[in-house]
């Protein structure tokens, strides 16, 4: 029994087939990564979400949890070029975007030639991004936002797909330059890498201290990722879900003058809520989540599942919130409890 008009039947079958392929490809990618990475299911899902949604990810966790290995494994599994930049206080913007060097050719003529930096790769791992100076961070974040690099008066496009996965360590804050809120907003998701449980640790030890190392084979390529991105953006979203996302976003802001009801924690502890870019991130990530879960269109549960990653770096606590040690995730939990999908 079909509710679609007759002339769409053929395209409906195509869409069904394409979505099944999309889901299979995503699952194969996740499975491939899980051959190397033990546990960390949510982190893997977050990174894959960034790849497919076309956004960038910020991974936060203490050293040694496998953040770098995860990104490297992802690059191997998708047959894309990979570059790693270790951010240090003396790293300069030119070290990232490249610079012009004087080259002598066979005819002994000298000319300035552009030498591309490591950012010209499909997947860039910006390790410990908060260790570099704000100037250098800006160079990277500008490239992330624009998808191009300007050097020597010439603008050069970055490869497509282009994905930056930055990492930062929440413990050692001395000698670091925390990313400003405006720049944090450029990341699609802020993924927290938890410490593995006992069983996961046992599996990690078994897998990493033996002779045989797990190998990864590429399951996707750049063309396929571009096609997947296109399909993800084509997924229809019900108007009530879009409205739900908008209401969630509005509820991350304290009410102006207390005129609208807000969750108590937001009223008390939040200085600024998420920007409209946060709502875009929420909806895009929810689309990927629904495909990963085998559904055709995102619902409220998909939005809830990605809300923490998409909003936690976009909500700024006020002094009281900082002083009381309030976790942004607790605010988000309360917002999710407070806001429901409209029944009208």
């Amino acid at each position: 029994m079909s509710t679609a008009p007759a002339d769409t039947t053929a395209s409906t079958d195509d869409a069904r087939r394409a979505l099944a392929e999309l889901r299979d490809d995503l699952r194969r990618l996740v499975d491939e990564i899980q051959r190397v990475i033990v546990g960390q299911d949510e982190v893997i899902a977050g990174v894959v979400t960034c790849l497919v949604a076309g956004g960038h990810g910020l991974l936060e966790g203490v050293p040694g949890l496998g953040k770098t290995l995860l990104v490297r494994t992802l690059a191997e599994a998708v047959r894309l070029s990979f570059a790693r930049i270790q951010f240090t206080p003396d790293l300069m913007p030119a070290d990232i975007v490249g610079t012009q060097v004087l080259v002598t050719d066979e005819a002994d003529r000298r000319a300035l030639t552009y030498q591309p930096g490591p950012i010209f790769a499909n997947i860039v791992l910006a390790d410990e991004v908060n260790r570099a100076t704000p100037k250098t961070q800006s160079a990277l974040l500008e490239a992330m936002a624009e998808g191009t690099v300007t050097a020597g008066g010439e603008t050069r496009p970055l490869p497509d797909p282009f994905l930056v996965l930055a990492t930062q360590n929440p413990l050692e804050m001395e000698g670091t330059y925390p990313l400003p809120e405006a720049q944090l907003d450029r990341f699609l998701l802020h993924i927290q890498v938890p410490f593995p449980g006992e069983d996961d640790l046992v599996a990690i030890l078994d897998r990493t201290t033996g002779e045989a190392a797990a190998t990864v084979r590429p399951v996707l390529d750049a063309d396929r990722i571009r096609a997947m991105r296109s399909w993800i953006r084509s997924l229809p979203v019900a108007p009530s879900v879009t409205r739900y996302v908008a209401r969630l976003l509005r509820n991350t802001h304290p009410s102006p003058g207390g005129r609208e009801p807000r969750p108590p924690m937001v009223e008390r502890y939040v200085r600024f809520g998420a920007s409209p870019r946060g709502a875009q991130a929420l909806l895009l990530a929810a689309r990927v989540h629904c495909v990963l879960d085998g559904r055709l269109s995102p619902g409220a549960d998909d939005v809830k599942a990605v809300a923490h990653g998409a909003l936690r770096h976009r909500i700024i606590l006020n002094f009281e919130g900082e002083a009381e040690g309030i976790a942004v995730d607790a605010c988000i939990d309360e917002i999710l409890d407070h806001v429901a999908m409209d029944d009208s």
């Binding site: 029994m1 079909s2 509710t3 679609a4 869409a15 997924l235 229809p236 879960d293 559904r295 549960d301």
Partner: protein
């Protein structure tokens, strides 16, 4: 109209009916019972006629009207279906996407696909289960309404007749002297706790019932204070024996086990989906815990929520397992003392040395046993933690077995923990009861001992009954001539209200009525005119002197405690300090007029900070 819409519209009719039933049952019926109770009471008292009882139908009609008038959108019905079957909004989204209008052919095709999927889901599921018919279980409001109705039915018909008390017979036989009952009204919270414990069926419940009966007998005057304290002592010994028995039969330390189970149930209780499991564990009900741990009717969302709760419970158990105790340190110290005790002191008799050695050995043995029990309890908690973690992780066919195993093991531990907790609580309540019995004033006397003491002090402070032995109370005498610097015709009136003083009733100067007392007078008194007279205009140099009062340790108990609290109690054992504080607070509670709820808060506080 699509097929999905047609199905949802049909379901909406059922939803309206269900909502009508629930509103009438949940709101209309309790309100109707309350109105009926009021009307019945008024009718029986003769204030209104019987037809007023018909007003009880009004809340039912109002609730029904409200339920029918409220709109019920199709989206809400679709959401209810999604929630019931754990469909992640698929029906709701399909309903909306069926109406979507877009130029993008790919998006149109995907929307049609989603709408098709929703329609086929709706066709394959028993949608009526989303709105089960039936009014639902009665709640406390219904109980309250019924109780009000029963109370109203007991109101005497017409004006209550006033019956005169029968006059005592002129030669009534003399009754045997009765024990005067004690006023135990302040023990209300304690009784509540005891009633809570008495609800069970174990030995704690039986002992709690006995304790309650003892308090009741004391209050009715069937027991005197001494006998009650003796009975209470016997009960306390029985409680101690039950606790010892429990400890002897349990390999693990029950206190540590109870703490672990408490943390586990708290962690579970924080999740809506795991609340039945937490409640079953709190009751120590293994069977209910097994049922709550795996319910085949649960949807995937509930399952995931339960898995999260179990993961939290595993973490809570891990924390409880890591909680430190000072038994190890105590054991090391006791072993050091035992080594020292092996050496005989100079001038110590052989018998004294053997007694000292035996005492040290007993102490070491007891601490070793305790340490072993704590280690066993930690192993048990570790095992429970592994069970919880496995149950949280397990998927597929193994999930029911893992969860049931976890619930069974946790239920067994919870039963032991609950038994220990109830007996310990009862022991503390018995101590509280002893305090109440010792301090309770006799019934009928409005003031207790502390009140009487306070009133005696107040009387003295006001000087109403001075102790000058031979002064003349309430005497008035005139003094002619100069009294100090005052005017010559000052009249002093002495009303006997002064403190014991050094007043000289003979006056000063050539009065005609010098008074006849040779002993110190009864007070200072106050004049009916200004006894100080007018200013003398004598040249004096005035200077203000400030006296700094001495703070800190003073004569009263309150000052001593206040100072100690500022300086810290490091030098005094907590148990003693607690006793002092508790006794002081109890004195204040007994002696002052404090609202009962506030008294309860203070009792509760001291209950919580009690040394264990």
């Amino acid at each position: 109209m699509t097929d999905l819409e047609r199905r949802l519209r049909r379901l909406r009719r059922r939803a309206r009916l269900v909502r009508l039933l629930r509103t009438v049952h949940g709101i209309g019926l309790p309100a109707a019972l309350a109105v009926a109770a009021l009307a019945l009471a008024a009718v029986r008292a003769g204030a209104v006629s019987w037809w007023v009882l018909a007003a009880a139908a009004l809340p039912v009609l109002a609730a029904a009207g409200w339920a029918l008038a409220r709109p019920l959108p199709l989206a809400a019905v679709a959401s209810a279906v999604d929630r019931r079957f754990g469909l992640h909004d698929r029906v709701r989204i399909g309903l909306e996407l069926a109406r979507i209008d877009t130029d993008d052919p790919r998006r149109r095709a995907l929307a049609a696909l989603a709408a098709d999927e929703a329609a086929s889901l709706a066709a394959s599921l028993p949608l009526h289960e989303a709105y089960p018919l039936g009014p639902g279980a009665p709640g406390w409001l219904h109980g309250a309404g019924l109780a009000a109705l029963v109370v109203a039915a007991l109101v005497p018909i017409g004006a209550p007749a006033e019956t005169d008390a029968p006059a005592p017979a002129p030669h009534a036989p003399s009754r045997p002297p009765q024990v005067i009952a004690l006023d135990l009204s302040a023990a209300g919270p304690l009784r509540d706790e005891l009633r809570e414990i008495a609800r069970g069926e174990d030995e704690a419940a039986a002992l709690a019932s006995k304790l309650l009966a003892l308090l009741d007998a004391l209050e009715r005057g069937e027991l005197d204070r001494k006998a009650a304290l003796a009975d209470l002592d016997a009960l306390a010994r029985a409680i101690d024996a039950a606790l010892s028995d429990l400890e002897a039969r349990t390999e693990e330390d029950p206190a540590l086990l109870a703490e672990g189970i408490r943390r586990m149930t708290e962690a579970l209780d924080a999740h809506e989906a795991a609340r039945p499991l937490a409640e079953a564990l709190a009751r120590g009900d293994e069977a209910a815990a097994e049922r709550a741990a795996f319910d085949p009717a649960h949807g995937p969302e509930d399952d995931r929520a339960l898995a999260r709760a179990l993961a939290d419970a595993a973490r809570a158990l891990a924390e409880a397992q890591k909680a430190r105790s000072d038994t190890g340190a105590k054991l090391a110290e006791a072993e050091r003392r035992l080594r020292r005790a092996r050496k005989k002191r100079p001038n110590e008799s052989k018998e004294a040395h053997e007694r000292r050695l035996a005492r040290a050995k007993r102490r070491v043995e007891a601490l070793r046993r305790q340490k072993a029990r704590e280690d066993a309890a930690r192993r048990r908690l570790a095992s429970l933690r592994r069970d919880a973690a496995r149950a949280a992780r397990s998927r597929g066919a193994r999930r029911p077995a893992d969860r049931r195993t976890m619930a069974r093991n946790a239920g067994g531990a919870a039963r032991t923990a609950r038994r220990y907790r109830r007996l310990s609580q009862l022991g503390r309540d018995a101590e509280d009861a002893a305090t109440f019995i010792r301090r309770a004033p006799k019934k009928g006397s409005r003031k207790g001992r502390h009140d009487r003491r306070r009133m005696r002090f107040e009387r003295r402070a006001r000087g109403k009954r001075g102790k000058g032995r031979k002064g003349r109370p309430k005497s008035t005498f005139l003094v002619e001539g100069d009294v100090g610097d005052g005017p010559p015709d000052a009249i002093l009136e002495e009303d006997g209200g002064g403190q014991d003083g050094d007043g000289d009733p003979r006056g000063d100067g050539g009065g005609t009525e010098p008074g006849d007392g040779t002993e110190p007078g009864d007070g200072i008194g106050h004049g009916s005119t200004d006894p100080l007279g007018e200013a003398t205009h004598r040249a004096v140099s005035l200077r203000d002197e400030h006296a700094t009062p001495r703070e800190g340790r003073g004569a009263t108990r309150a000052e001593v405690i206040a100072t100690s609290s500022q300086e810290g109690f490091a030098s005094a054992p907590y148990r003693k300090v607690y006793r002092d504080y508790h006794a002081f607070a109890q004195t204040a509670l007994d002696g002052e007029r404090i609202p009962e709820p506030k008294k309860r808060i203070v009792h509760r506080y001291f209950h919580l900070v009690r040394p264990r």
